[in-house]
Symmetry: C2
Subunit: 326 residues, 2 copies
């Protein structure tokens, strides 16, 4: 019995969460859910986007399923990542059958530093304009690089690429790159290289097969993972894991999509795949594979799928179909 | 007779420059070239990557053709952009026939702020790591947004999109977004919207037709323009203009490509298209269209083209062919 915090949040976050919980009922693992509030809707009622109570509920859990937050997303998710020290954001990009992915051979994972960089929130206004501080600590660089190598080892991947802009950001990204090569010494069997972030954005499109595991700083990881989601079938299929020493928080890369909310037409795949990542995190790997395969079957059949995948199933109809395959 | 500074630089920069100058001889416009040094090779000899003499030569010219610099690129090109206040970096992304572009309907232009942001060079080291300052001044935001709207008007484009990360960078990018909407008031006929940089990186792939003119900050422009080059046939075809009040500097988006240098196999198209941008900048629009069309013909025929375009012509053979069409 795992203690799981559930934060449906706003908009389609609530819809894909409901669908995912429905599917998880048929998985052979027991969960004890505690629901918690966060996001725009909660803020309208109370004036806060992320109540301390929610932080406490997540802290008292082994993992958290997170749907999406609206305009307040930055105040909710960035704060959760920092307060809970969820320092590694893992974002797989994988082409699934039956999806409109640009390439059918995309299969890499972005490991994004999740606590600092430009997300540290140190901005100042002045007469002339404003400044923001980009922070790279040796400690955070070390732990994220180590995480990336350990992750590569555990998942049988062969290569780790550091992505940075050290030609311009000589000190901050210079430190990141230097730390990467230092950490790499403990993994002599792993292939490794490093690339500029701009070149990486291009190579994702022209030579995606050259990437396996990517480790990068916070904002570069943000941008590149959305690009990667675009390559591999769109945001409707992109899951993510925010992982720290004690807790994991699992969320789709997509947001609350206010334009699509309330219609029951959102693709639940990214949230279901986030639950797959959660199962792997809890070391329920058999259940994880079963759930992933059930989803892949439904995608490949292409019948009971949502509009973005070329079908006309509702969010819940697609979930019901996935559950049937379990 | 236009006074033009020519900086071939390093690696394939020299090769594509030679090819472009060969083509320009057949264009019906007269140029007075002054050659100038910069880059790795010059640094090896002298210890400086960008001599003051080169800066002065560019300052005394109406425009500059720039090939590429190697490892020292940041010290050369970023410094030139800042010293000469080349505040607007214009990067068109356009699918040309006969190229391996992912979509054949890509046609948008990125207008990148070229003097500040994280490129300001304010980095500091500390016990724990390092910091970099990201600077947005109202003045620079205003002039780049104004430039983007004027550019859109002049080139008959219909829409300007501001790209930022104002949900996280509330003050710096908040100011950028706010300034964008203020400047927009002077252009009531222009369509406009704004997008997050991460979402933009995805939409380039899933819905490139939604973009027309994009205006964004320095580093986001760097990343997005390489991604856009990937969409539209690769770096071999991506030109750029760095424009200020008095001078324009024209360069391919690609670098010096040390792995490919010395073989005479580099694609000269990006440099030739940069010369097209220079001709437009000098208001030699007829000559610009003729040169662009000559290149497009050679691309469409697909015979005398370089390896990256599926042919086996050398850099110079392709240039000779382009010149023949003029
Ligand atoms: C909502 C936003 C603050 C967030 C981020 O920038 O990290 C999102 O884009 C993501 O990638 O999870
Ligand atoms: C070489 C580098 C400093 C430069 C930049 O980051 O601006 C390049 O990538 C570019 O886009 O012109």
């Amino acid at each position: 019995m795992y203690k799981i915090a559930v934060i449906p949040g706003d908009g389609i976050g609530k819809e894909v969460m409901e669908a995912t919980l429905h599917v998880l009922e048929a998985v052979d693992v027991e969960f004890d859910y505690t629901f918690a509030d966060a996001g725009d809707e909660y803020m309208e009622k109370t004036g806060v986007a992320l109540p301390q109570e929610t932080v406490e509920i997540v802290k008292a859990s082994q993992a958290c399923l997170f749907g999406a937050a609206g305009e307040s997303a930055a105040d909710v998710i960035v704060k959760l990542r920092q307060e809970l020290e969820l320092y590694a954001n893992i974002r797989p990009a994988k082409s699934y059958p039956g999806t409109k992915c640009l390439f059918d051979n995309v299969d890499f994972v972005i490991v994004r530093e999740n606590t600092e960089g430009l997300y540290i929130g140190l901005e100042e206004e002045s007469e002339e304009g404003a400044t923001a501080l980009r922070v790279t600590t040796r400690k955070a660089a070390e732990r994220i690089c180590k995480y990336a190598f350990e992750y590569a080892k555990k998942t049988g991947r062969k290569k780790v690429t550091a992505v940075h802009k050290a030609n311009v950001l000589k000190k901050t990204d210079g430190l990141f790159r230097e730390t990467f090569y230092q950490v790499a010494k403990d993994y002599p069997d792993m292939e490794l290289d490093d690339r500029y972030v701009d070149a990486t954005a291009m190579f994702f499109i022209t030579r995606p097969e050259m990437f396996d595991v990517i480790v990068t700083t916070n904002l570069f990881g943000d941008i590149l993972s959305d690009e990667a989601a675009g390559l591999a079938g769109g945001l409707g299929l992109a899951p993510s894991a925010n992982v720290g020493e004690k807790i994991g928080l699992f969320e789709p890369v997509h947001g609350s999509a206010p334009d699509h909310a309330g219609k029951g037409t959102a693709n639940p795949s990214a949230m279901i795949l986030s639950a797959v990542l959660m199962l792997d995190y809890l070391e329920e790997n058999d259940a994880a594979r079963k759930l992933e395969n059930a989803l892949v079957e439904v995608l490949a059949e292409g019948k009971a799928v949502t509009g973005d995948l070329g079908g006309n199933a509702s969010t819940m109809e697609m979930a019901v179909e996935v559950r049937k395959k379990l």
